[in-house]
Homo-oligomer: 159 residues x 3
């Protein structure tokens, strides 16, 4: 076959709205999103359209923030964190039918550990999500949540 693929390069599309004093490490793939004052975005990160990230957040390397996600202020998104907006509700991907997508809503002062996976849930303020956790349900109480599926961790943290 002599087919050649069509391609675009990652980059920062002109429609990204940056607050003041944002620092980032290229290559990143950012488009249609808003990123607040004083944020840091690490390398190999993709942030999709209609994402809103508050002020003073860090998004570390290798993370993916999907369309519709909203993140508050002073949040830390670790390395390799993946957000999900498509629950495959009909047994497969929504294939661009945005009516089937839901975006996670993350409060303020939320810290998400590396390699965590965040389904389209609400997470309240002052929550820590442990590294490698899979958050499948809303978190409505401040605390530390670990495991797959993520559950509240009682007692002294050693995650």
């Amino acid at each position: 076959m002599d087919n050649r693929p069509s391609f675009v390069m990652v980059g920062i599309r002109e429609d990204v709205v940056f607050g003041a004093d944002v620092r980032l490490v290229q290559p990143v793939n950012l488009y249609g999103c808003m990123i607040g004052d004083g944020c840091f975005i690490g390398p190999f990160v993709e942030v999709q359209a209609q994402v809103v990230i508050g002020n003073r957040c860090k998004v570390q390397s290798h993370s993916f923030i999907c369309e519709l996600v909203r993140i508050g202020d002073d949040c830390f998104i670790g390395h390799g964190v993946m957000f999900v907006n498509d629950l495959f509700a009909n047994g497969g991907p929504a294939n661009g039918n945005r009516a089937l997508w839901k975006g996670a809503v993350i409060g303020n002062h939320v810290s998400i550990g590396s390699n965590a996976t965040i389904l389209p849930v609400h997470i309240c303020d002052h929550v820590v999500v442990g590294a490698g956790a899979v958050v499948t349900k809303d978190i409505v109480e401040a605390g530390v949540y670990v495991g797959n599926p993520a559950r509240r961790k009682e007692g002294i943290s050693d995650f």
Copy 2:
């Protein structure tokens, strides 16, 4: 030390066989593989030699598809999905001894959630693998599979 490393750049090697109408986002690292008609490949993806991907599949950002994997038609591979072909059967990596490698075989209409990990198993048609799941055994019945290790999810899906 004055040692300098030797290096190559990621890219699309000349031996990749593309179907018609493939779209991709660079940078990607593709070599020795076949990618079917109408596929989409996201950024920061690596697809190794001897991989065969069917028609109308999407492979999202940050995923890694290792040598010997075969994927059917109309599949969705989420973000940060890692395939594994080396079970460290002798207590460590096979170190290029391909006799010790096994490749996953994925059916048609299979959707794999973000951050999932797929050991060298067979997955039948019409399966959904939840985000963050680790699939360690063959899946021979259509349905939704979640957790680490992945198990069939009964009842209404809320993964």
Copy 3:
């Protein structure tokens, strides 16, 4: 807003110390670390300052090795493996207060499966960590460890 972010590009900073015969695939982001003889570093990898990697190790694509981690000889770090040095001990990120960081110490002949997450633990020689595992406690006995949190796997390995 007309704010423009400040940015740097990934790359290999001049202060990286390489042993002999290191091979790598760009793009990588390496700075302030030591990488031993005969190592291989895959694409989309970041290795931070003060990391020491021994001889004959492989670090596969998409992995992140954070500040303070030490890795012995003949280790295999799979794809998408994330190391963690900040336990959010005060309910959030240490924000550069290195007194709160702890680095993992990995022995010799340790193989870590893809998508695994490694908290700041000690792992002894001749350990296999299964793909997708989350290692939250020290491993002091050779063997195979799987799951979230990782536990010793008894009997014949089929991870």
